[in-house]
Symmetry: C2
Amino acid sequence: MIEVEKAREKIQHVLAQQKEVETVSILEAAGRVCTEDIYAKVAVPHFPRAGMDGYAIVAKESQGANPQEPICLKVTETIFAGDAEQAFIKAHGTAVRIMTGAPIPKPYDAVIKQEWTDYGETQVNIYREITSGRNYGEVGEDVYLNQKIISKYQLLNSRTVGILAAQGITEIKVLAPIKVGILATGSELISPGSPLVSGKIYDSNLYTLASLIQTSGGKIVFKEYCSDDIGEISRIIQEKVNEVDLLITTGGVSVGEKDYIPHVIQQLEGELLFHFVNMKPGTPVMASLYQNKVLLNLSGNPFAAVVNLHVFYWSILAYFMNCPELNLEKRTVQLTEDLKPSTLRRFIRAYEENGFVSLKSIVHYSSVFHNTLETNCLIDQPAKKQLSKGDYVTVYYWKF
Amino acid sequence: MIEVEKAREKIQHVLAQQKEVETVSILEAAGRVCTEDIYAKVAVPHFPRAGMDGYAIVAKESQGANPQEPICLKVTETIFAGDAEQAFIKAHGTAVRIMTGAPIPKPYDAVIKQEWTDYGETQVNIYREITSGRNYGEVGEDVYLNQKIISKYQLLNSRTVGILAAQGITEIKVLAPIKVGILATGSELISPGSPLVSGKIYDSNLYTLASLIQTSGGKIVFKEYCSDDIGEISRIIQEKVNEVDLLITTGGVSVGEKDYIPHVIQQLEGELLFHFVNMKPGTPVMASLYQNKVLLNLSGNPFAAVVNLHVFYWSILAYFMNCPELNLEKRTVQLTEDLKPSTLRRFIRAYEENGFVSLKSIVHYSSVFHNTLETNCLIDQPAKKQLSKGDYVTVYYWKF
């Protein structure tokens, strides 16, 4: 039995990273991983920009101005946002009426807000002294020319989309999504939508997994059921492995007589990476390498499968996409109650709020799945350790 | 100037809530809002289910068993997961070999894990005493018959998808997405992809907003630019207002000579909800009701626009979809440095980790947008209040 961290390492050691690139519109770029460093070809702003509605002035000409002794300047023109930049304007004793976002002509070096003037049209009285640079948006104040604005493998969001737009960029190269196949094994499984049969259950794992992986930006290239049949499991894995970056199975990994996944991998001469991890639920989780693809084999129990998935999928995705930000969000918080010690490391459904985490008064059997909806995280409880109210623990949040 | 909370209330007071329903596959349901209470038509499990690989026994027949004095039971058959439920089996002195997930026949009331037996095939030696109910998944242990499994207006996630699948459900009714129109106003704006012109800037707001709203599940029904032209702004609003649930504009809300949005609303005889809110940046944010639709008018400055959007869009979405969970995530955390007092309530870009928030050593001018990428939240700094290192503040996380 190995540790979660060691198991993750073993996967990363053999997992190929995504090389496939695609070009998308910046409007489709949020949530994607950029594949190149991007440098600013346009400074933002690319001209000195008025930060206020008011008057562009030479700041030193406002020296000594106050409401009793205003300084009067001649207004030579009005510049609106969108107007073209103007050449040097002979300035002594003059001001320019200017609106937010408009280009400030030389030699003006400040904008006095209109509320501090008499709003004069041909000449303006200035009631305050201001210093050079006031409400004066310097060239490159936000983004300077050639500044690296996006880094290779950066996760894009709506603000990065805006930043790219401000550069005039409309398309961007991003990593293609991870291609995932899901195989739910178990002779007891029937597909939702079909009639219920004695001894059978509607499969839920296929749906939970597919939903989560899709929502995370992954591409489900196949999702199938099969019964506990060595030949069938083996055939599907062989047929489908080349279509995917990651093949996830559920069920058939424990020690029951029809837990065939380990046999299939052996028969296919796959390289076993690990089987049985120090975690509860989902101890029998397994991973192997076959045809250069990682096969991640989760427990069949729905709660165990989703915990296995959270513990392994996000770290696989983050590594595959070269983007640590894709990892599961975690946080160090305080327990509001004692935890029963556990022989194995345990992931406990729980509810965290403002730095405090509670188990809630719900059933914590691994055979119960529905009440995970009342929780927002998993407590990572170390093995064989007494943890009491007030102690700090790590929690991982349910994602999607 | 009104408070943020009052401004939100004024919007909610007039905003129609979403009534439009659509049916989607459960695989497309994550992130959507359910429109009905859903009750379990199938108990989970719907038969007593073995929780372990082992032997189904009558627990009291294991009384006194230990490794030195095992109790021997006759094995009458083997039941696998997926096998049909069996009628009552005459039980005295017998056991049934059983695998995880298989239906446990009556009168057996416990499953002893195989590791505590000699794995016998025709007869089995039991090395431990177990109690009734051990590894015995009762009918309805996870979900009982007629249990409410999903509530009306519940936000669905990948686990709810699995829970629906376990009921045999393949489709679900959800609220249609909010339909949003975006109009970026400003004569200085040109579209990314076109050549840069003196005094003009590439618009970024349209893209930041569209990206965020799309990623939040909203539907962008139009996105357009227009110059600071009363007629054009007015024409677009009139033409498009009926296509949307919410119309968002950027720019033209302040006190400049060409800040025409307030005039347009007046001219159209829209009902002003508010103009100028106690918040910085984005003080001149405005909202009105026109043709029974809410128009939300944000500042044109990119940082102010995105702060306005975070402060108002999420609360609008949550109210419109009847789902408070859609609101912006917030948290009470401790300051790691003093805050300069501010005349207005201020939203400060910041970085929060494990309960502590810092301003980072970055420029906090509202004319700077790019460095918001180095932050993960906004500190909500109350007006005119001295806040020092160690004090608690509310932060709101950037979402998408």
